[in-house]
Amino acid sequence: MKMMTAIIKPFKLDDVRDALNQIGIAGMTVEEVKGYGRQKGHTELYRGAEYLVEFQPKVKLQIAISDDQVEAAIDAICGAARTGKIGDGKIFVAPLEQSIRIRTGEVGEDAL
């Protein structure tokens, strides 16, 4: 099992969710986060007062998937979230030791 974390542009969330649904990944957890990478921040100007806003708003999405879904999930997220401009985000993949469905007590891939 793998825990996949994707940081994407907020307005791409719906596209990414649809793409993941199409390959059979039906559950996810989403958070609104702030951060920066190569995109850096942006400036805002209010009546002559200029502020550098260093953190960009992003959406962080986490999915727990089986090993054989990893390549398809990466393709789905990249396909849906890419604009080609700086700031499209990143995907991290990490091993997942265990998963448990609380309602039934199922464990492992059965619980995904």
Partner: protein
């Protein structure tokens, strides 16, 4: 106002000969001033309240709304007790040079039947009351996010009595500036210069907010600000067209020039930002609107539509530069830019009224010079005298009042309280629970 003075003078002459009030109620005038009174109150609550509240940080939003609301209540009572009589005396227009007589303390010389020209004296008193509310409320922008609530109430009370009411008398109540021929239809000197100079002095006396210039202090809710700005624009029709104190040609022209100046000022500021920074900003266009409106205010009874467009355009450009200069070069934390918008606009408008009132400027002609003045130069001298007198008097008096209030209750919240935010510290409330 000029109109009113004439009618009131006429009334006094007739009073002397007939021995009784000869004024008959003019229903059209009365209906329009009743409406205007509501419009001008609407400018403060909720117009200015929302405009200002959106500009502060989230931790101080309630402090601004509270200050505007409390000032509306308190200034009404101060005006009733003593402010009105200092400005307008017993008869609505009082020929004293400096202040009115004290015959209208607690509106003592007024009954339901008393007339002031063609409208009830009570109506004139409450119409003027709404001006006495918004003027101190404008000052709040200068010391936003750091003044103690008690100090603000005390300061505003003394300021209304010592600064606003006398200056109002000088210009509109039969005082020396009005008699000299100063053209200030709706309050370039009385409202905007007094409020803006007071805001500037307060910003200097109290010092900048903690972190000014190093910490980002962007507006917390510009949708609120734009909503308030729209209300101000509408309310300003009552402010300027109502200042004709009649439903007549002068009122209609005042409304037209007010609107044109607001539109021109908005576009001018928007264009300045677009050209200089690459993007037209929402805050820019609404600030340009306030600049255009503030600048046309003194001139709204003097100029024609083409003159008004020039006034609006110059307001948008000059107030834009003034705002940048005050903040970035002088580093003065006039937090909501009261001085560069209202003060610079008030001075500009009062001076330009002296030019564009001329009837000799072709399409840019206005409604003529004051009685006894026959040139732009002559009118400009009077206009400049009005600006200078109002400016200097307000500056000195405001400084003294602030020092006095500082000794009595302390002007500023302490550093920790400022960081925590006035909403929690002073009012035990939060603006949002989202």
């Amino acid at each position: 106002m000029k109109m009113l003075q004439k009618t009131a003078l006429l009334a006094m002459v007739m009073l002397a000969s007939a021995g009784a009030s000869a004024d008959e109620l003019n229903a059209a005038d009365t209906a329009w001033i009743l409406t205007s009174t509501a419009l001008v109150l609407f400018m403060t609550i909720p117009g200015l309240s929302l405009f200002y509240a959106g500009l502060v940080r989230v931790k101080n939003v309630l402090s601004i709304l509270m200050q505007c609301f409390a000032l509306t209540c308190l200034m009404s009572l101060v005006w009733f007790v003593v402010g009105y009589t200092i400005a307008f005396g017993s008869d609505g227009v009082e020929q004293g040079m400096w202040i009115g007589d004290f015959g209208n303390v607690f509106f003592a010389s007024m009954t339901m039947e008393t007339m002031n020209g063609g409208i009830p004296a009570t109506l004139f008193a409450i119409f003027q009351m709404t001006f006495a509310i918004i003027t101190p409320a404008l000052i709040l922008g200068g010391f936003a996010e750091r003044m103690r609530f008690s100090a603000m109430l005390l300061f505003s009370t003394i300021w209304l009595i010592v600064v606003y009411s006398p200056v109002c008398h000088w210009v509109w109540g039969g005082g020396w500036l009005g008699n000299m021929g100063l053209q200030d239809f709706a309050g370039g000197t009385v409202v905007h210069i007094t409020a803006a100079v007071a805001a500037l002095v307060a910003a200097l006396v109290m010092g900048p907010r903690k972190g000014f210039g190093t910490v980002a202090m962007p507006p917390h809710n510009l949708t609120m600000t734009v909503t308030g700005a729209g209300m101000l624009w509408v309310g300003w029709f009552g402010f300027n067209a109502g200042s004709a104190v009649a439903a007549d040609n002068s009122a209609a022209m005042a409304m037209l020039v007010t609107h044109l100046s607001a539109a021109s000022g908005s576009l001018a500021w928007m264009t300045m930002e677009w050209v200089r920074h690459g993007k037209p900003s929402v805050l820019g266009i609404v600030t340009g609107m306030v600049a255009g409106l503030g600048t046309i205010t003194p001139a709204s009874g003097s100029v024609g539509p083409a003159g008004a467009v020039l006034i609006g355009l110059s307001a948008g450009v000059i107030c834009y530069f003034a705002t940048n200069y005050l903040k970035n070069a002088l580093k003065i934390d006039d937090s909501l830019d009261v001085f560069p918008v209202h003060g610079v606009g008030g001075v500009l408008g009062t001076l330009l009224a002296g030019i564009f009132c001329s009837t000799q400027l072709g399409i840019f002609s206005g409604n003529g010079f004051s009685d006894g003045i026959d040139s732009i130069g002559g009118q400009l001298v009077v206009q400049a005298t009005g600006v200078l007198a109002t400016f200097v008097y307000t500056m000195v008096a405001t400084f003294i009042i602030l020092k006095l209030v500082d000794m009595m209750v302390g002007l500023r919240v302490d550093g920790d309280e400022e960081i925590q935010g006035l909403d929690l510290v002073l009012h035990d409330e939060r603006g949002y629970d989202l």
